[in-house]
C-alpha cells in the first residue's frame, strides 16, 4: 500500500500545485475542527476584501459640443493649388439665438482673443440651433444648424446624455465664405464637426 501510494504520487505530476494541494488535503483531513476554523477565517478574509466601497461618482464627460474650426485657403503660387491653413480670429463674440429670433442672455464667447476653433452647445430640445458669430468686433454672420437628437446612456452613475446628428448647416456670407460638415455625429468624442472658411 505504502509503495503504491509513493509510486502514484511520483508518477502523477499533472498539477503544478500538487504540494499545495497535498498540504491542504492533509490539513483538511487531519482534523475537522481546525479546518472549519480555517474556512471561517478565509471566508471572513474574502468578505473584508470584497466589501470595498464602490466609486459612485460620475467621471465621464457629459457635454456634447459642436466644434467649429476656422480656416483660410492659401494659394500656392508655384503649384497653383490651394492649401488649407487654420485661421486665428483676433476677436470673437458668439451668442445663441432662440427660436423666436431673440438673442440669448448668456454669451458663449465674449470678445475672446486668438481663437481658431469654438465649441457650441446645440439645442437638446429642438432640431434647430442658431448662433450669431461676430468677427473682430465688426462683421457678423449667422450660423444655423439643423440637427436630430438621440440619447446615449452612459452609466448608472452618469445617467443619460443627448447627442446630435447634424443634418444641414446654413451660414450668411459677410465674413464667412463657406462652411463644410466634417463630422455629422456630435457626441462626447472630441472631433471637429464644422469647418468655416474665410479668404
Amino acid at each position: 500500500m505504502q509503495t503504491s501510494m509513493k509510486k502514484e504520487s511520483s508518477s502523477n505530476d499533472f498539477f503544478n500545485f500538487k504540494n499545495l494541494f497535498n498540504i491542504l488535503k492533509n490539513f483538511l483531513h487531519n482534523n475537522f475542527i481546525k479546518s472549519t476554523v480555517f474556512i471561517w477565517i478565509t471566508a471572513v478574509f474574502f468578505f473584508s476584501t470584497s466589501c470595498n466601497v464602490s466609486d459612485e461618482v460620475c467621471r465621464k464627460e457629459k457635454n456634447s459640443r459642436l466644434k467649429v474650426g476656422f480656416y483660410t485657403a492659401i494659394l500656392n503660387s508655384s503649384t497653383g493649388n490651394y492649401t488649407l491653413s487654420t485661421l486665428s480670429i483676433d476677436s470673437l463674440t458668439v451668442n445663441g439665438v432662440d427660436s423666436l429670433g431673440n438673442i440669448m442672455d448668456s454669451v458663449l464667447y465674449n470678445n475672446s482673443k486668438n481663437l481658431s476653433s469654438i465649441k457650441l452647445p446645440l439645442n437638446k430640445f429642438s432640431n434647430e440651433s442658431k448662433f450669431i458669430i461676430r468677427f473682430n468686433d465688426s462683421i457678423q454672420d449667422t450660423l444655423t444648424v439643423f440637427h436630430t437628437n438621440y440619447d446615449q446612456y452612459l452609466s448608472f452613475e452618469c445617467g443619460i446624455i443627448r447627442n446630435h446628428l447634424i443634418d444641414t448647416v446654413l451660414i450668411t456670407n459677410h465674413f464667412v465664405d463657406s462652411v463644410k460638415i466634417e463630422e455629422h455625429n456630435v457626441s462626447t468624442i472630441d472631433a471637429e464637426h464644422l469647418q468655416i472658411f474665410h479668404n
Binding site: E8, F21, K25, I39, D98, N123, K124, C158, G159
Partner: protein
C-alpha cells in the same frame, strides 16, 4: 452567440477529458484497490452569504440561492443552482434602478485533490469548475434627467418594465468539508463573465440577478451549508 456556446461546451469537454486522463493515471497505478462507485449520492446546498449581505447592505441588493450537486465517482460533481435576486438602488444623481428575478446555473465541479482509494470516505474536497448562468428578468430605470444648461428646458426619462435575458459563465474554485455526519460546509469564489458585451449607449441594468453588479467581469463569493443524501 452560437460560437460562445460551442466554446463553452468544448472547454467543458476538455476539462472532462483532462480529468479523466488524470483519473486513468491513478487507476493504472493502483488497480488492485476497489473501484469507486459512480453514484455517491447528492448534496443539497444553501448559500448563506447572499441573505447575510442582504441584511448588511441597506437592502441595496438581495438574493437567495440553493443548489443540488451530484457526486459521481467522488471526482465529478454536476451541479444545478437556482436562486432569486434583485436590487433597489438610488444613484447619487437620483436615478433609481429596480429589479428582481429568478436565475439558474448549470455546471460541473471537479475534485482537484487526488483521491486515495482507502476504505475511509474522503468527503473534504477542493473543487474547480465552470457554470453557465442565465436570468430572464425585467427592470426599471427611472428618473433619468436631461437638461439643457444653455438653451433651457429639461426632461425626465423613465424606462419601466424592460425585459431582458442575460447569459454568463463562471469559473468557480471552492472548498467543501464534512463538518458533522451528513452536514457540509464550504465556500467558493467565482469569477463571472458575460458572453456578450452590451452595446454602448443603450440602457443597461445596473444589477443582474445571479450575476451581480453589471460589468464585463465580476467576482463573487458563496458560503454554503449542505446536507448529503
Amino acid at each position: 452567440m452560437q460560437n460562445i456556446y460551442r466554446y463553452f461546451i468544448i472547454s467543458l469537454l476538455i476539462t472532462v477529458a483532462v480529468n479523466f486522463s488524470a483519473a486513468q493515471n491513478k487507476t493504472a497505478g493502483s488497480d488492485k484497490s476497489s473501484e469507486v462507485k459512480w453514484w455517491n449520492g447528492f448534496l443539497v446546498k444553501m448559500d448563506v452569504v447572499s441573505p447575510f449581505v442582504t441584511g448588511f447592505s441597506d437592502t441595496e441588493h438581495f438574493g437567495m440561492e440553493g443548489s443540488v450537486q451530484f457526486n459521481l465517482k467522488r471526482k465529478i460533481f454536476p451541479i444545478y443552482e437556482i436562486g432569486f435576486g434583485g436590487a433597489d438602488k438610488l444613484s447619487s444623481n437620483a436615478i433609481r434602478f429596480n429589479t428582481n428575478g429568478v436565475f439558474q446555473r448549470i455546471g460541473v465541479d471537479f475534485g482537484l485533490l487526488k483521491q486515495s482509494n482507502d476504505k475511509e470516505l474522503i468527503n473534504n474536497m477542493l473543487t474547480g469548475g465552470v457554470r453557465l448562468g442565465w436570468s430572464n428578468f425585467s427592470y426599471d430605470l427611472t428618473n433619468l434627467s436631461l437638461s439643457d444648461d444653455y438653451w433651457g428646458g429639461s426632461q425626465t426619462l423613465n424606462f419601466e418594465g424592460r425585459s431582458t435575458t442575460k447569459t454568463w459563465y463562471e469559473i468557480v474554485v471552492g472548498i467543501q468539508v464534512q463538518v458533522y455526519k451528513n452536514l457540509y460546509m464550504g465556500w467558493n469564489i467565482r469569477n463571472r463573465h458575460f458572453f456578450k458585451e452590451d452595446t454602448s449607449g443603450n440602457i443597461v441594468p445596473w444589477y443582474i440577478p445571479g450575476y451581480g453588479k453589471s460589468g464585463s467581469s465580476n467576482t463573487g463569493l458563496n458560503y454554503i451549508i449542505g446536507y448529503h443524501f
